[in-house]
Amino acid sequence: MHDMLFIDLSRLQFAFTAFFHFIFVPLTLGLSFLLVIMETVYVITKKEIYKQMTQFWGKLFGINFAMGVATGLTMEFQFGTNWAYYSHYVGDIFGVPLAIEGLMAFFLESTFVGLFFVGWKRLTKYQHLLVTFLVALGSNLSALWILIANGWMQHPVGSAFNPETMRMELTSFSALLFNPVAQSKFVHTVSAGYVTGSVFVLAISAWYLLRDRHVEFAKRSFAVAAGFGLAAILSTIVLGDESGYTVGDVQKAKLAAIEAEWETQTPPAAFTLFGLPDQKKMETKAEIKVPYVLGIIATRSLDEPVIGLKEIIAKNEQRIKNGIPALEALQKIKTGDNSPALMQQLKAHEKDMGYAMLLLRYTKDVGQATPEQIHKAALGSVPGVAPMFFTFRLMVLSGFLLLLLFAAAAYNVWRERIGQNRWLLRAALFALPLPWIAADLGWFVAEYGRQPWTISGVLPTFLSASTLNTDSVAASLTGFIVFYVALTAAEMYLMVRFARKGPDLY
């Protein structure tokens, strides 16, 4: 009925390309603002070394930026190529932030990025600083609109189904814009980007200091990165994405899966530090629990419960049953019967229609669905617990290690002892992969945690794909792997080469 292989390959392709894109994006977000800081210091103090810093880190920024542009294009294409039904079903809403992203943000950063490189002699200092700032502003605004789009997938507000056009349509732009999930995602994601940029500068500067090269240059870069990085990691952790996980049923399921919380506990719930979740038996073995912590982190309160997965699944089973009349009404409306009774039936059950769609995976005729099928669909209405549980913990662990690093680095700067503690320099160097690990795991938690939906509670993933043959997506996936690995290898090669070469002076 539905070509599951095509859907799985399309998912794999989307995951693969998004994963690669998200290697380059966080560095662009963070490094662009670090360039603004360095150049601002240059413009104010007129010290040449800060111009050198802006230019050197700018060169590495450029090597990374090119890959961000190349891999970003894929993301825009893929909604249409592989997820055509998704694009039709929610394009009226989802297309809006994407198009505004182009208008407001991507144009800005792309138009000015070239001038950052070739404009040094043609512009005054102030004009050039403005150019650098506009590049940083553009890339961060770009993140804002993309996360507004993504936030809507997680928590679809401001929209309604239109039976005439058979799709979801926008009812409130301000709801879309001020979606609480989008807001917390934006802050968390750009902060993580600033952390990435800071670790990048800190690690390479530490490497110079370890080798006693470009010492003056490296010390100043180290100081800028340590200060910016400490602020950024605090913001990333304190304003964690979790604050957005208490609104909407699918977000709640994501939170419960992260915590392997099968039963609803009396608040404030205990936090499972470690355990081995078993989805079939719905229990977690070998648990180590810390009392009260989860409830406080997740709900920011002492008396609000964190809903457990068993309760969520039971509720979803009810929602599936309640959505069936809506799908039945729609079947008749499709054949041209527009009687008010049918419209009323659709309206009355519309909010659960997406849940009933989950049944389409097991039966064509949802009206005849058996209790077993409904139960199966309900069990499939939450994400896999073990992958969520472990990736989330690894991400948090990376985050806390980075907090320790930046705290130590900032203290080191404050005591004016940069470069004197070799262990710190080594730690900074070895921490280089951590922000990328954390960022890509965070992306996984957010997006895998949304399963089985593309649009939470509205459109299941298996209904979202295009109707194409499997060969085409197998071929394109192979192509993406070959291209991305080869291009990333070229990028890494240049990055290492230019980092090794170091700034020309100092």
């Binding site: 792309s110 070239g114 109707t467």
Partner: protein
């Protein structure tokens, strides 16, 4: 402010403007890619050519990205339909476009001739392939693509897209290639004053412009005589929300000329397409005038196809009644109005700062200015 029907027409125009914006700016970047290995032989020459577009190509490509984003927001079914039914073509364009950001940025970072030679080929493919495929896509729109909708409005392919590539769509691809080569040469002619290089550029410009005229006239004659066109017979209230499977469409040879018969003023578009290209042949000694002339030719050629198709956006050859038009393929009235507001605010701002960037970078590109300069490509 505007009714739904008017909004649909405005968005047809806006998408046209974005596509034309891409052809005018990103178009010369693609053209420069196609010409890189033809006109520039030594590494110094190639660096001059690359540096004439590398600082601005990225901004120019956003016209394309924004165009696609605007189709997503304003005509979601057309976005879904065109990208999925043209899957192999879209993936091929995407892969070839990868070479551009990376090629421009990485090419001159290492001196090894093999490294540079590789990226030169990459930039060539990244110019030729998109130029041809965009043209083929226009050709396929005119001859129709085999697809229909099921009752859920899910797009279903009727056959293999590669089998539907006809001689006509290949011809359309060549029109696109020739016109973008002409435009790329016209731009290089403005940016490069090295006498030897410029002679080669001007020669390519004249040849490409001549090819544009011949191929474009040929494609036009083919449309008039051979291609089956479509006309909407009955669609319902175009001022309301419409479902694309509930309309009637007639198919007949010469139908794509129907709009030209109704509004004879539209003949200006193909005329400008030809006269502009002729200008690009004759005015090579006046580079800026020739660039404007070549730009006008592009506008004329794209509008010629757009006028012929109106109101169709994605004609279906297997079930013509399911063809997407601006009337039944658009977003809701609310979204169209909202996006019109966003475009009205931001497009003028974009034009202002883009113009400023080009002003800052005006003047010829010379090898002595880029050889050891920070930030040159």
């Amino acid at each position: 402010m505007f009714d739904y029907e008017t909004l649909k027409v405005i968005w047809w125009l806006l998408i046209g403007i974005l596509l034309i914006g891409f052809a005018l700016t990103g178009g010369f970047d693609l053209g420069v890619g196609t010409l890189l290995r033809l006109v520039a032989r030594t590494d110094d020459e190639r660096r001059v050519v690359v540096n004439s577009v590398a600082p601005t190509w990225d901004g120019n490509q956003v016209w394309l990205i924004l165009g696609a984003g605007a189709v997503f927001a304003a005509f979601p079914m057309v976005y879904a339909g065109s990208f999925s039914v043209l899957y192999p073509a879209m993936i091929a364009v995407l892969f070839s476009l990868f070479f551009r950001p990376v090629g421009f940025e990485y090419r001159s970072k290492i001196g090894d001739p093999r490294w540079r030679g590789f990226w030169d080929w990459g930039l060539t493919v990244g110019g030729v392939l998109p130029a041809v495929v965009f043209g083929v896509a226009f050709g396929l729109m005119l001859t129709g693509i085999p697809y229909h909708f099921d009752s859920d409005l899910r797009i279903v392919m009727d056959g293999n897209i590669l089998d539907t590539i006809s001689a006509f769509s290949v011809l359309a691809g060549l029109v696109s290639l020739a016109m973008l080569m002409m435009h790329g040469a016209a731009f290089l002619n403005c940016k490069i004053d090295d006498p030897i290089l410029r002679e080669r550029i001007r020669k390519s410009q004249r040849l490409a412009a001549l090819a544009t005229i011949i191929l474009f006239v040929g494609a036009g004659a083919w449309i008039a005589l051979g291609v089956q066109g479509m006309q909407v017979a009955d669609i319902g209230n175009v001022n309301g929300a419409l479902n694309p499977i509930h309309k009637h469409v007639t198919v007949a040879g010469g139908n794509w000329l129907h709009n030209y018969q109704t509004y004879p003023l539209m003949w200006i578009a193909p005329l400008v397409g030809i006269v502009g290209a002729a200008g690009a042949i004759m005015l090579t000694a006046m580079p800026v005038t020739a660039l404007i002339s070549s730009g006008l030719s592009l506008v004329g050629i794209i509008l010629t196809a757009g006028f012929a198709l109106f109101p169709f956006l994605l004609p279906s050859s297997s079930v013509p009644a399911h063809s997407l038009t601006i009337w039944d393929g658009s977003s809701s009235e609310h979204t169209l109005a909202l996006m019109l507001g966003a475009a009205a605010i931001f497009v003028p701002i974009i034009l202002v700062y883009t113009t400023w960037v080009y002003r800052v970078l005006r003047g010829p590109v010379r090898i002595e200015d880029i050889r050891d300069e920070y930030g040159s490509y």
